[in-house]
Assembly symmetry: C2
Amino acid sequence: MSADQVTDTEFDIPLQQMVTFRLSRVHAKLNAQAARILKETAGISLSQWRIFVMIESHGKITPAQIVKRTDFDKGQVSRTVKGMLREGLISVEGSESDQRSHTVEFTDNGFAIFQQARPAMRARQNALLGSLTASERQVMFTAMDKLELAMEQIEDESQS
Amino acid sequence: MSADQVTDTEFDIPLQQMVTFRLSRVHAKLNAQAARILKETAGISLSQWRIFVMIESHGKITPAQIVKRTDFDKGQVSRTVKGMLREGLISVEGSESDQRSHTVEFTDNGFAIFQQARPAMRARQNALLGSLTASERQVMFTAMDKLELAMEQIEDESQS
DNA sequence: ATCGTTTAGTTGATCCGTCAACTTTTTTGT
DNA sequence: ACAAAAAAGTTGACGGATCAACTAAACGAT
């Protein structure tokens, strides 16, 4: 007795809202699950995980490069990095070419902790991707591209 | 001069992460844009808008019903409703059958403000939906369903 | 009828995301 | 060379999301 809602058809216009509502809910659930897994397996936060992933895929990297590649917020990257430093998960090294900047890198301990979370995260990713067919994945990506483009056009209109 | 990132191909495994990363970014952008439009056109928040939408599609409704239908957080609904009451956007009426509960409803002023935001929100929805083909929309929805299902199975596994 | 359980709603704590202000360093244009 | 502009990071503020503890009312089983 818990599958009786949502089957209603009183949606005339609100059905349109479903795209963003739906996306928002899926996102929230994905996030919450990832956060839970990370906490349980490695005791790290989702933000920290994302920094780790960036370091892993790029090697030594500066916060600014992370921001460019991911669109994460500058401020949040700064704070997350600070926290990870405090916890000894990463180390920094001042860039000699630019006095403002520094690169971040795994510490041994940080890498070990990263590795601890990977199997579960990898398994989850595979489960998620595996639940979709190749063409569904494909369409999903192009659809998200298109949504981002459409958004930019809306921006343009409402600002002209 | 701002489309030079993300075209890299150094992603071996992290490409897998792209599903959730991508979804997260699209979601964030959609949210930010909706919030901006709502603030500009009607001076309301996204949470308030969502409550309005629920009231509109359902008529008099209790917070608990909103929670059931949307999976919004109980606490946040409570706080948002409180704020909307304070601002005179909605009115409450104690349900006589249940002393704990109350239904919420538009005030005239609240409805007027809701109407103020609707054209822009409707236009945006149409722009977003219109940027996708019918089959892309279709696939997107089934894909999100599947992702939610897959997530539930992951839960089951990691808790058994 | 009453005790235990469930449900509605409120509140507090905490973290994440976003925005803006600010400092310092680098780059650029003349 | 030097002033103006842009970029890298830091920090504060604020709203949004999540989780948990709590009160009060309703329900249900015996």
